[in-house]
């Protein structure tokens, strides 16, 4: 029985809908005077962050604390833990301390999978982003935001995103958010279109369950949600496009482009935004932009995932594919 959350592709449609429905109830806790539930009392969760992260770590920490778990933050920045052997040592240290779950962010794709399947550790492993591979809780919170906005808070309960057209724009090559979203949105029945310059699309993208386009303007009128990805400046020395201005002109979302989207369509961004690059301030500050909502929804989604993986004697989430052979 799998009790980890490593990839959005592991989730079945029913699992994903259960997580979204649970998150809807968790969201109501945020409206109460005492934002705390006793559900994970006595369980220890370690946030193992080998890579910089502000919002994901804070979001997980808030979710863990709202469920009354004991939280240990482990920031490995500057140490040599990115080497395989050291990950093992770290894992065994945590195992010896008796942790129940590990939330891991790592710059190497596959590190959470390794941790979950190596036998080093008995705890549940939750992937909080690994390299350019996956970021499943981000995909879940994005799907949650879309369902709330496009289907409705209460009418959305029990329903997926069948037939919704989602466009993901930008640096797909380096984006674990894009990968996770393509997997999860496909599972939930949505039609995904990736829009990016050819240089920022990974090899093999034609095998993904989505459409690919190089032309943003023709895609916008057919979109229910447009997700802008951050242009990762730190990687731009590899010259993926000629100039930032050219990228911004062809793939950036400004007010004129937003006006071409359908009336009900929303603009999403996983953050942090680079204003003036992939998104203009006009769009970022408009009522159609859900960035702040996504952050709030992130806490609810992570509470739901923690509850469903740790709340009982076995996880409520089954898995579509068995990872261990």
């Amino acid at each position: 029985m799998q009790r980890h959350l490593i990839s959005a592709a592991d989730l079945t449609r029913d699992d994903a809908v259960l997580i979204l429905d649970t998150a809807e109830e968790m969201a109501r806790v945020a409206d109460r005077p005492i934002k705390k539930l006793p559900t994970l009392r006595g369980r220890t969760v370690v946030n193992l962050f080998f890579e910089d992260s502000t919002r994901t770590r804070i979001s997980f920490e808030a979710a863990e604390k709202r469920l009354s778990a004991d939280v240990i933050n482990f920031t490995a920045k500057g140490s040599s833990v990115s080497k395989g052997e050291s990950l093992k040592d770290t894992a065994q240290t945590l195992e010896a301390m008796g942790v129940d779950a590990v939330v891991i962010r790592h710059s190497a794709s596959g590190a959470p999978y390794r941790l979950a399947n190596s036998g080093w550790i008995d705890a549940a492993v939750i992937n909080a982003g690994d390299g350019t591979h996956q970021h499943p809780t981000q995909a879940l919170l994005d799907a949650f935001t879309m369902r709330r906005r496009l289907v409705g808070r209460d009418t959305g309960l029990g329903r997926d995103l069948a037939g919704r057209r989602i466009t993901i724009v930008g640096d797909v090559l380096h984006s674990r958010v894009a990968r996770s979203n393509v997997d999860l949105l496909h599972t939930l029945g949505a039609e995904v279109t990736l829009v990016a310059p050819p240089t920022l699309l990974p090899v093999g993208v034609e095998t993904w369950p989505c459409e690919v386009s190089y032309d943003l303007d023709s895609t916008l009128p057919k979109s229910d949600a447009v997700m802008m990805l951050r242009v990762q400046r730190e990687r731009m020395n590899a010259a993926f496009f000629p100039t930032e201005r050219e990228y911004s002109r062809r793939y950036g979302l400004d007010g004129d482009r937003m006006a071409r989207m359908p009336e009900h369509a929303i603009v999403m961004h996983p953050g942090p935004m680079v204003r003036g690059m992939e998104i203009t301030a006009e769009v970022a500050d408009s009522g159609r932009c859900t960035v702040v909502e996504q952050v709030a929804n992130g806490v609810s989604i992570r509470m739901a995932v923690l509850y469903l993986l740790l709340g009982g004697n076995e996880p409520a989430v089954t898995h579509a594919r068995i990872e261990e052979k």
């Binding site: 259960l18 429905d21 109830e25 109501r28 109460r32 005492i34 009982g312 004697n313 996880p315």
Partner: protein, 189 residues
């Protein structure tokens, strides 16, 4: 729908309606007019009972009666013994419960553990003036020092028996069924 083939009804639709009317009158009597009453049903069927009670109270008092729901899943003491359960809705009426008389409403009172969890849940939501408990059926076998203030029907049962409440909103009809556990030891005939 009915899995207990040999289950027999102990309360039928009209009985349930009469019982709820009586409980409503008792609430008005004990709460001296039910001015500050908030009815909170425990999902699933407690919520429907709370709504029906609220409607009866409104008939009697001529005032609007606040009613809502209180999901106790996250406060259960047996969470670690089962896979996580799906959550139900907690809906607290707009004015909150601070200083009000909260009447918890559930279908069957058995071990009392659900009510203990409900008291814990209430604690995180506010501070009522008092908390009372109304149940449609009290089947005994308490495991905690908890009793109901308003009981629809006292139903002495053995642990081998099951009590199943069906309500029109959820099950299509109103009835309380007394059956025998299918896998109960000593049930092999």
């Amino acid at each position: 729908m009915d899995t207990h083939s040999d289950a027999r009804p102990v309360l039928e639709g009209p009985d349930i309606a009469r019982v709820l009317t009586r409980i409503a009158h008792e609430i008005v009597e004990r709460a001296k007019g039910a001015d500050d009453v908030v009815l909170l049903g425990i999902p699933t069927r407690g919520v429907f009972l709370a709504r029906r009670l609220a409607a009866k109270l409104e008939e009697i008092t001529g005032r609007t009666i606040a009613s809502g729901s209180l999901d106790i899943t996250m406060y259960r003491d047996d969470l670690r013994m089962h896979p996580p359960r799906a959550l139900a809705r907690t809906e607290i009426p707009g004015d909150g419960i601070d200083g009000r008389l909260v009447v918890l409403v559930d279908d069957v009172l058995f071990s009392g553990r659900t009510i203990r969890a409900a008291l814990d849940a209430l604690n995180d939501i506010g501070r009522p003036r008092a908390v009372q408990l109304a149940v449609l059926v009290d089947r005994g076998h308490r495991e905690l020092p908890i009793r109901a203030d308003y009981v629809g029907k006292n139903l002495p049962t053995s642990l081998r028996e099951t009590v199943k409440v069906q309500l029109a909103e959820e099950d299509g009809r109103d009835t309380v069924l007394l059956g025998v556990k299918p896998d109960a030891p000593g049930d092999q005939r």
